[in-house]
C-alpha cells in the first residue's frame, strides 16, 4: 500500500458531534449548539463551513455561525428546506450528528481587515454566516475600525437573533441598521430592501472591506449600489452558496466557472471573480 494512503484521512468520513442545545428561532430557522466528540482540534476561521451529516439522509453544507473566539463548541443556524435540514430539525438534545470540516479555504480576511472599517450587508439568512466574523470583530474590537452591519429581512416573522440584534443596536461600537422588505403594522423601523440602507453608511464605507451574503437575487443589486458608492471591487467580498455534494473540491457541483465554491470559497473577493460570470 502507498504510504500516503496509510496516513491520509478519509475526506468523506464525518466525525461525531453532540447536539447540546437547540432552539427554533422562527418558523424555519433552527439554532443549534454542537460540540465535537473526539479530542482532535476543531479550529476554524470565520467563513468556514462544515458538512452536516445525518446517517441515512445525507449531508448539507452549513457555515459555522459562531465566532472562533468562543471555544469548546460551535453554533449553526439551519433553515428547513429539504431532507437533511428537516432531519436536523428533528434531532434531539444529546443526539449525535456527523460533521466534516471545517471546510473552505476562501474565508473572511480576518487579518487583512485589521485596522480597517468593516461593513456587513446581509439578506435574511445571510446574517448567519456573517455572524461568525461580526462577533469575531466585536470580540477583537480594538483591531478593527468602524463596524457597520446592514440587515434586510423579508418579513417580520422571519427575523431572528432578536436579543443579539437588540444588543447590537444598543452598542455604540457597532452601527447596526435593519430593514424589513414588506410593511408590517408593528414594525417601527426601516421598510424596504437592504440596498436602501447603503447610502446611510457613506462614512463607514470609506476604505472599508465590505462583506455580502444573502439570497442569489440580492447580490446584483447590492453590488450596483456599492459601485455607485465607488467601493472598489478589491474591497468587496461575497459569500456564495452553491449546491455541494462533497465540500472538498471533487464532486463538481459547486463550480462557478473556474472556481470551486467549496475550496476556493465560499468567501470570494469580488475582483477575483472578474472571470467568473456565473458568480452573480
Amino acid at each position: 500500500m502507498c504510504e500516503r494512503c496509510a496516513v491520509e484521512k478519509d475526506i468523506y468520513l464525518p466525525r461525531l458531534a453532540t447536539l447540546e442545545k437547540k432552539r427554533l428561532m422562527n418558523p424555519t430557522e433552527m439554532y443549534l449548539r454542537l460540540s465535537i466528540d473526539d479530542n482532535e482540534p476543531f479550529d476554524f476561521i470565520p467563513g468556514q463551513f462544515v458538512e452536516v451529516s445525518i446517517a441515512g439522509v445525507g449531508e448539507a453544507p452549513i457555515t459555522i455561525s459562531s465566532s472562533p473566539t468562543q471555544k469548546g463548541y460551535f453554533e449553526l443556524v439551519i433553515r428547513r428546506t429539504g431532507n437533511v435540514t428537516n432531519a436536523v430539525h428533528r434531532m434531539r438534545i444529546g443526539d449525535k450528528i456527523g460533521i466534516r470540516g471545517p471546510l473552505g479555504k476562501g474565508t473572511y480576511p480576518v487579518e487583512e481587515a485589521k485596522g480597517k472599517n468593516v461593513v456587513f450587508i446581509c439578506g435574511g439568512i445571510g446574517l448567519v454566516p456573517q455572524r461568525s466574523f461580526i462577533n469575531y470583530v466585536l470580540d477583537n474590537r480594538a483591531d478593527y475600525k468602524e463596524l457597520a452591519v446592514l440587515l434586510g429581512t423579508k418579513c417580520l416573522s422571519q427575523r431572528f437573533f432578536h436579543s443579539e440584534l437588540d444588543v447590537w443596536s444598543h452598542r455604540n461600537d457597532i452601527r447596526f441598521m435593519e430593514t424589513i422588505d414588506q410593511t408590517d403594522d408593528c414594525w417601527l423601523g426601516n421598510v424596504g430592501v437592504v440596498t436602501t440602507l447603503i447610502p446611510k453608511i457613506e462614512k463607514e464605507l470609506e476604505s472599508a472591506l465590505v462583506f455580502i451574503c444573502g439570497p442569489p437575487v440580492m447580490y446584483k443589486f447590492v453590488l450596483m449600489a456599492l459601485q455607485e458608492a465607488e467601493v472598489p471591487k478589491e474591497r468587496i467580498f461575497l459569500n456564495l452558496e452553491r449546491k455541494m455534494k462533497c465540500g472538498v473540491g471533487k464532486c463538481g457541483h459547486c463550480q462557478i466557472n473556474n472556481y470551486y465554491a467549496c475550496i476556493d470559497g465560499p468567501v470570494f473577493r469580488y475582483s477575483d471573480l472578474r472571470i467568473a460570470p456565473e458568480a452573480i
Partner: protein
Amino acid sequence: MRTVTIDKNAFRRFVDEIIKRQRVIGVCAKGDRFDFEQLESADQLRLDYDVTLQPPKKYFLPPVETLLTFEVGDGYKSVYDDTPFVLLGVHPYDMVALNQLDTLFTQDNYDTHYMKRRHNATIVACDVVSPSKNVFASSMGTATVKDGFDVLLTDIGNAFVMESGSKKGDRFIAKAQGAVDSSEKDLQARQKIQAENEKRLNNHKLKCEASYLPKLLERAYDHPVWEEKAKTCFSCGSCNLVCPTCYCFNVQDDVNWDFISGKRQRAWDGCLLDGFTKVAGEHEFRKKRADRFRHRLYRKCKYVPEKISSQIMSCVGCGRCVGACLPDIANPVKVYNRLVDDLGIK
C-alpha cells in the same frame, strides 16, 4: 528501468500466468466494439482495439461506489476496495487522462478511495494499433505517453516491446518468461510507430495548438456557438459519462431495513444534466442548456488544465463523446475550430 521485447506467444502465456494469480482486466471484444473486462484467458485480449466503450477511469472511480457505511448514533466507517489488479491495454490518451485524475484526486484534498484503487493497480498501457473513427489525440498531444504507466507495450509486428515506467513495472517485467532486452532494431521500430501515431491519430483536426485553447476560450464566453449547438442538446450527459476525464459525482444515502445501518454511495454525475446545480428553493445556477454545454467545453480546455497547471488539455482527444452524442454537437474540435475561425488566433 528496463525495456524488453517479448514475442506474442510468450506474451500470451505470460498473461495466462498472471490471470492465475491475480485479477486481470483487459480489453475484449464486445459485439463489434471493445471494452475493458475481467479476463479469463489471454485469448480474449484484443490489443489491436480502436477505442473502448468506457474509459478506464471506472476501475478507479466506479460508476457507483460505497464510500462508507454507518450505524445511526454509532458513527461512520470508511469502505475500501483493496484487491490488487492489472489493467491491460490502456491507450496513451487514456493514460494521460488517468494522470490528470491522479492530480485532481490528490490536489487540495487527498481522496483515499480513488487513490487506494490507483495504488492497487498495475497499469499496462499500450500504443494504438488501430485508430478509432473519432480519435484526435494527435491534435491534443496525447497520442503517445511518457509517464504514469507501470508498463508500456508497443506492438512491433510479431512481438511487443515492453517498457517499464515504475518499480512495479520492473517487477512485472521480471516475471515475463522469454522477454529479452530490446535490441536497437526493436527500439527503432517502436520509435517509428510512436512517431507515426503522433500524426495519424487525428481524425478531427484542431486548427490551433491545443495549449492555445485556454486563451481562445477567454475570448469566447459570449460567442453564439453555445446557443446554436445547445439548441439540440438533450442534456443527456452522455458526453460526460463516456469521457475519461469527467469525474463529477453525486452522493446518496440509503438505509437497510433495520433503519439503523446503511451506506453512503457516490455515483457518476454529469454537468450537462438538468438539476446539476439546483439548490433548495429551486434555484438553478446553470439552468440554460447552453450554459451547461459551454461549461463542459470550458472545463475540458480551460478550467481543469488551469486548475492543475497542465500544458495538456483535459480533453485528451479520445473521441468518445463525438460518437456518444446523438445530435452530434459534442465534438470538441468542431466547437473549438469554429471559435478559431470566428475569433482568430491572437
